[in-house]
């Protein structure tokens, strides 16, 4: 009887899974860093109009978002079906836009305060009256750089 028993040749050693957590953690950190959380839940329908002469909005820290559109189906009972403005997580009136912009501007870093852009995410079915009102409010608080956020696509998609 030999002390050193020969291993059976057909038996594969089990693959070590000890480094699996490391790999997963690596992926996890990547996604944690790359994630931008949706900061507000949409309470309005938001089918953006299409345009093809678009410019990218890089640098999310320089953008203030204003949403507008008809309240989505679960809010229709409470707020009616007329187009509304949404600032952060709540519905707002046109008069509140100015105060919102000033508050947002104050919350940004000093050096960014002059380069902020206001992104208007407005539903395609909205009437221009509301958009004009928002624009007038923005002019009052001197937030002149705006961006009509759109989907990418030909203008023909807007015509039906």
């Amino acid at each position: 009887m030999s002390k050193f028993k020969k291993k059976k040749s057909g038996d594969l050693p089990a693959i070590s899974t000890a480094s699996l957590p490391d790999i997963v953690f690596m992926l996890l950190f990547f996604f944690m860093v790359a994630t931008v959380m949706r900061d507000s839940t949409l309470m309005v329908t938001n089918t953006l109009p299409a345009a093809d002469q678009v410019q990218k909005l890089d640098k999310k820290d320089r953008i203030m978002y204003i949403y507008a559109g008809k309240p989505s189906s679960r809010y229709v009972d409470k707020y009616g079906s007329g187009a509304r403005i949404q600032l952060n997580d709540k519905f707002a009136t046109v008069e509140e836009v100015g105060a919102f912009i000033l508050a947002e501007r104050a919350s940004k870093r000093q050096e960014l305060q002059n380069v902020l852009t206001t992104a208007l995410k407005v539903d395609g079915e909205t009437k221009m009256g509301l958009v004009s009102d928002i624009k007038q409010e923005l002019r009052k608080v001197n937030a002149l750089k705006i961006n009509y956020t759109t989907r990418i696509g030909g203008y023909q998609q807007n015509m039906n």
């Binding site: 899974t17 957590p21 990218k56 961006n147 203008y155 015509m159």
Partner: protein, 207 residues
């Protein structure tokens, strides 16, 4: 009594926990960036500005009514023709002497704009106009400017192999090196000077 060794914590479920977190972040990630039409609003002046006299032929009026119909230079128009009409207007170069335009390739119609620096597009919409039509009109007008700027950019800087839009995109990209930006800036500014975007929006009429 023998000192009891602390039992080793089983790390076997670490992977499960990590996977759970990973899946959460995978689901909540939005990597894509928004894009849209950049515009600049006119500042609001308290004091009344004195009126500047602009010749009627230098103004290209676009009106969108509440039924989303288009009136361009007093003529009912389809949206698909708007881009070509705006290009023809901007590129007309009908001016004489001082106001002549040496790079325009238009028809030199004396009833249309003198030169691109003078040409103004005036956009007016009704409160009942739908937003998506408004965006489509804006898109077509920006497209007209971009078309002409592309042409001039390629004529002035044939060696870059880029169009104005591409060059502008490169310039605005935060990953572009400072050297490259410094190189592109004078080229872009030159073309922007040739075709300044003079898009005036009438103040919305009160109901």
């Amino acid at each position: 009594m023998a000192k009891r060794a602390a039992p080793e914590v089983n790390a076997g479920s670490m992977a499960d926990i990590a996977f759970l977190l990973l899946i959460f972040f995978l689901v909540t990630t939005t990597i894509e960036t928004d894009s849209g039409l950049n515009r600049k609003l006119p500042p609001m002046d308290e004091q009344e500005q004195e009126d500047i006299i602009i010749r009627q032929r230098n103004i290209f009026t676009v009106v969108v009514n509440k039924y989303n119909q288009l009136l361009v230079e007093e003529e009912p128009t389809e949206l698909k023709d708007l881009r070509q009409m705006a290009v023809a207007f901007l590129d007309n170069g009908g001016g004489q002497g001082e106001e002549a335009c040496d790079f325009c390739q238009g028809e030199k119609d004396p009833a249309s704009s003198d030169n691109p620096q003078k040409a103004i597009i005036s956009l007016k919409n009704d409160r009942e106009t739908s937003y998506k039509v408004y965006v489509a009109v804006q898109n077509e007008l920006v497209a007209a400017y971009n078309e002409l700027r592309d042409r001039e950019f390629q004529r002035l800087n044939p060696m870059t192999g880029m169009s104005f839009v591409e060059a502008n995109k490169t310039y605005n990209d935060p990953r572009t090196s400072l050297d490259e930006k410094a190189r592109l800036k004078p080229m872009l500014d030159e073309v922007k000077n040739l075709f300044p975007q003079k898009l005036s929006e009438a103040e919305p009429n009160k109901k």
